[in-house]
Every structure is written in C-alpha cells, then in structure tokens.
Symmetry: C2
Subunit: 378 residues, 2 copies
C-alpha cells in the first residue's frame, strides 16, 4: 500500500511537464509526414483532414483499421536493456516498432484496395524515457512519410502500475480511401486463378508470444533484474554465426508495407490477404468465396525467396509442429493476392520480388472456402 | 526463465480459438451501432464508411482523435476483483470503461465542431475473461449508438507478460466530420464574451494515477493477492454514508459525452475546450487567442451544479493544493465554451444544465492567452 500521499501528479509517475516538453519533438517528427489536405487545428483537440480536396475520387469510401504490434514491444524493451549505455542503439530499437505499427495498418487497408491517407498513434507507457518516446513517434512519422500518409494526431499516456517500469504498448489507427466501385473483396476469385505473394521481412508483428516462449525470452517474474540481464544477453547471441544478425536484429526486423509495390496494380487484383495473426491459411480464408479452394505449394516460394531463418529457429528450438507454425506465423509470406492467369503473368513481370504461391481450384465438399498447404494440411 | 517449451500458442496465453469465439459477440454488439454509410467488408481487414453518401456537407473535413481511458482501467479491474462471485456486477464495471473511451473521443472532436461518424477500438489484455472482453466492447458499442456513430472495427490483442493477469488497456479512435468553413477554433473569442460550461459526471478519464495514490489504491507489488483484496475492500467503502455511492461507483462513473446537447448549437459557439488531462486552465488555454484572458469564478458553477463529491474527498485525503487540483482534475466542468453575450443568454436558455463559468477580458502583459481561476491563481 502507499505509505504516504504525495499530493502531486509528478510524484506518482505522471509528469505533465515532461509530456509538454515532448510535444515540440512530436510535432517536428510529424512535420515530415504531412499531406496538402491537412488543416491547421489550433487547439489540437482533433486532427483535421480535408477530404473534400481529394477530387480524384468520384465516390470516396473511407477504409479504417486499428492495430497494435503485439508483444514485439516486449522484445524491443528487452533489447533496449541489452543496449543500455550504448547511446543511440536502444532508441533505434524503439523507432523500429513505430514502423511496425504503421506498416501493419497500411497492409490491412491495402487488402481492400485503399490508399493510405492519415494516421493517429496511441503510446501508453511506464518509465519510458523522453528520448525513447520521441524515437517511437519518430518511427511512426517516418513510416507514415514512406507511405505518403499524414500523421495528424496521437496520444501519449503515462500509465504507472499498468505497465512494468520501462515497458510500453503502442497502437494506432489508419484511415485511407478507395473508389466505391473498386473495393477488393475476393468474391470474384474463380477456379483457375493464380495465388501470388510478396515476401515478409521476418515475423512482422505476429506470433511473438510463442516466439518469446520458445526462445526463452519470457520471465516468471517481470520485476526480476536477473531475468532482464539474461534475456538481454540471449538477444545478443548470433544463432546464425558471427557474421549473421543477432537474435534481437532478427526478431525486431520491421514489418514491411506493400502499398508502394501493389498500389499501382490494384485493378488486376481480385483478392488480397495480409498474413497476420491467424497465419497463412487463416488469413487467406477470410477472403475466399465458398465455392473455391486455395492450394498452396511451399516449394514455389521457398525456392525463390530467402525465407528469414527465424522461422526455422523457432520451429527447431520449440519443436513446434508444421501445422502450428502455419497457423501462427506468416512463414515468409507478407501479402497473398489472387489474379487471373493473364494478370498474374503481368504482375510477376511488374513485381520482381513476387512469387507464385499456388492456385485456386474448384471446391470439393467441406473444403469450400478453405486454404490447404501441400505437405502441411492433411 | 521458461523451463519447458510449449510449442502451441494457447499454452503461452494467446488463445486464437477463444478470440474467434468472441467475434460473433463483438459483431452482435456492433450491430447496434451502425450507420447507413457503412459498407460490408467481407474479409474484415478494414472497416468501410461511404463518405460520398454524406451529401449534407458541401466541403467535408474529417476530424480524428485517438485516446485511452488512463489508469481508470486499473480501478475497473480492482473493482471487478471486489465483485468476484457477484455475477454481472464485475462485467458492468467493464462496460463503463467502454463508455468512457467513446465519450472522451466524442468530446475531443466536438471541440472543433465535428459530428461523430465512426469508431474503432483497441483492447489489449492478459487473463481477462471472454465475458469481460465482450462486455467492454459492448460498452463501446452502446456509447457509439448513443452518439449516432458506427463501430466499424476493432482489435483485441492478448498480451501475456505485458499486462498483469486480469488487467487490460483500452484505446480507440474516432473519425467525425465538419463543414470546412465551420471549424471552431477559438480565434474569434473577444473580450466581453462569456465562458459557459456543462457539468462533468465525476473524474471522467483524467487524474486517476493521483486519485489512486491518494485513495490508497496503488500497490507496491501488483502480483500481491493481499493488495487486491485490500483495494477491493476499500472500493466497497461508502465515504459519503450508507445511502451514498461506494468509492468504486464514484470513481467509475462514466465520462459524459456532450455531442447531443451541444451539436445543434455549434453555430453560436466561438471556442470549446474539453476539460481532460491538464485540468481546467490548461485545456482552456489551448484555444485562446493571445490578446485575451479568461477569468473564471468558481462560485458561479459551484452554486448551480452539484459537484461530484469525489473531488473534495481526493483533496482532503491527499492534502492536495487547490492549484494542483485545478491542474489535474476537471473540478466539475466537462466542457467549457465561449460565446458572445447575446448567444450566451440563448445557450443558457436552451441548455438547462449549462452554467456561466466566467468571462473573457482584455489581456494585460504576460496574462495574454491565459486562464485564471479566482481564488486559485495568484
């Protein structure tokens, strides 16, 4: 119990002045991620975006998605523990999760065919330094800028007692736009269509609780200093040899966004699945009509892409079944999309990193609307 | 450290099946909070809202804000501990924070003059039951419905290790719309204008870390069962006598939304401040031009309104200074707004619960753009 009452907000871990000091730093980051449709908002109670200026859309429909980065935030905090005293490195770990957050959301609305317009972020933390907070928001702003999107607002909350000291959660919301009659639904997918994909950069933002368990990055007691030191040491290991990345590097590789690659070619795409929580089959099944089945052939993409070795490491160390791996992780696939055979040929020409993943076949019996991976699903 | 590897996602606290079971319950809640502009989105990767159908706006500008409910979520979790075994009550505590979240966001964009359109929520938790999660989202949906808004999406994340067992964080994002030339900025506020206000229902969603400290609802060790039991008992106390509310009731009274009351009268309002983090003066100062000062006279609203007694209790128990109280809490004021003397008279007629808070005077010296409370600020 509290042994004395403090009587001021700062004494309980909410430093209003510190947060006020951060506002100009956030604004400086956000200034890089602007669009001409943004309007000044003097009081700052809400960000403003002039949708009437988007004259290229005849019937604009807004697409919105909200997400977090899962317990990848814990890995970032543990890795910053590792980098303590090595100025700069810790903060770069924090910038990465800003990219994760934005890129994840960009892909979510890309899956329905939407152009990203603006973003707002929510950062809740306890005992995270001003530099670290500033770096997280700077990562968010950089990723917004890379995707041609405005960062129009955000909330930073000090949450003593809810988060452990030095930890944070990060969530955000994207708003994008699409032409009403150009929504990508998956409902025109027919037998004979091709399934293509673009490679992921690593785990992206899903499966981290299982990854941390398997890689011994979970503690019984989060207040245990020894636990942090041990985890930090483990994250510095280089499981792929001295010239390979550290475990921290492999786990914290940011989520890739696919808007720039796929945005110009949406007219050729019949359906698109962002491979996130729920894994490969689970996400593809979200967009399939009930009269088709998708048959994936892993050798098709595994021979063409360099699959990040983190997947094999997790499977080996955790003795995780193939089935569970495909249900939890993206297995090297960032986005999957379906097109007619002719459009698929053109897309493969236009997108050097794209690969064929499999094909759409007529559904038989209970397999309607399902996705089967050769060698994985019985 | 983990002593064995589990190899499945459910074993580490992420139950994909449990979350899948919740989807129909979330959908049922969200079905109450719909608008005609919503479009079906089959894959569910992003919520869709047909902005082109909003034909009443000549030049629509979107207003967006993101927020959480602060450490009020901790009070809700502690109060649900109190209510363990008393079926229903615990879940109602959780529905309340859903209202808090939405109503806070509604007021944020109302402050620039925006009509609420749609909402997305982010619920991150550890060891929170399916019923509790469902109740939180149901609270979000009810509040959306009450404000004429669609709940078009959300994310539920299991975050083992980041949150303590039984705890959660809740954030959300609102998108609303206003006519481009009707933005409420505060910049037309002139000396002689009146400052009016509408009453808050309690602490709303700010100052909970200080309130918990003062009311001995903070623990040194969050894993301590004794702490939970003690806090739960304290929340059942009735500091205002046996017929008054419990401490839990007083602390968990939901944030009020002011859109319904103020929405029809926005044309008469020159500036509006949502009294949240930063307190009374801090939020009013966000919208003041530099050549005016606002002078508030507490007796004006304290004589007219029944100020929730929670403020006095916190001040007494914590020996908190008047200055700090006004800097952290809303002190009974939910929204403050400025109007010309003639419009102010009309607004007071139209809004029975509104009160005069003070007046706008010419700025002298360093007091330009500031808000002074009589008897509080030197």
């Amino acid at each position: 119990m509290a042994t004395q009452t403090a009587g001021t907000y700062a004494a309980v871990g909410v430093d209003v002045d510190a947060n006020d000091r951060l506002i100009p730093r956030y604004r400086q980051s956000a200034a890089r991620a602007r669009r001409s449709e943004q309007l000044d908002n003097i009081g700052g109670f809400g960000g403003l975006f002039d949708i009437s200026a988007l004259s290229q859309y005849r019937q604009p429909v807004l697409a919105s998605s909200t997400d977090g980065v899962g317990t990848k935030v814990i890995v970032a905090s543990l890795a910053s523990w590792e980098a303590k005293g090595q100025k700069g490195e810790a903060e770069d770990r924090f910038a990465g999760v800003g990219h994760d957050l934005v890129n994840h959301c960009v892909n979510d609305i890309l899956a329905v065919g939407a152009e990203p317009l603006f973003f707002v972020d929510y950062l809740a933390s306890n005992g995270v330094s001003e530099d670290q907070k500033s770096k997280i928001v700077d990562g968010v702003a950089s990723a917004c800028q890379e995707n041609g999107m405005a960062l129009i607002g955000g909330e930073t909350a000090d949450m003593p007692d809810l988060y452990m000291n030095g930890y944070f959660d990060l969530a955000g919301t994207i708003v994008g736009v699409l032409e009403k009659d150009r929504q990508i639904t998956g409902q025109r997918i027919r037998p004979g269509d091709c399934v293509l994909g673009l490679p992921s950069s690593g785990l992206h933002t899903n499966g981290y609780s299982l990854a941390r368990e398997v890689l011994e990055l979970r503690g019984r007691d989060p207040n245990d200093e020894v636990y942090h030191t041990e985890c930090a040491a483990r994250l510095q290991e280089r499981p792929w040899g001295s010239t390979g990345p550290s475990l921290a590097d492999a786990l914290l590789e940011p989520h890739k966004a696919y808007w720039k690659e796929l945005g110009p070619h949406l007219a050729m795409i019949k359906g698109m699945a962002h491979i996130t929580g729920g894994g490969v089959q689970g996400n593809i099944e979200r967009i399939l009509p009930s009269d088709v089945t998708v048959a994936l052939e892993p050798s098709l993409w595994q021979e063409l892409w360099e699959i990040p070795p983190i997947f094999d490491l997790i499977q080996e160390r955790g003795k995780v079944s193939n089935q569970e791996m495909y249900r939890v992780f993206n297995m090297g696939i960032g986005m999957a999309f379906m097109a007619s055979p002719r459009d698929a040929e053109e897309l493969l020409d236009l997108l050097p990193s794209a690969a064929r993943l499999g094909e759409v076949i007529p559904a038989t019996g209970a397999l309607g609307g399902t996705c089967r991976v050769s060698g994985i699903d019985a």
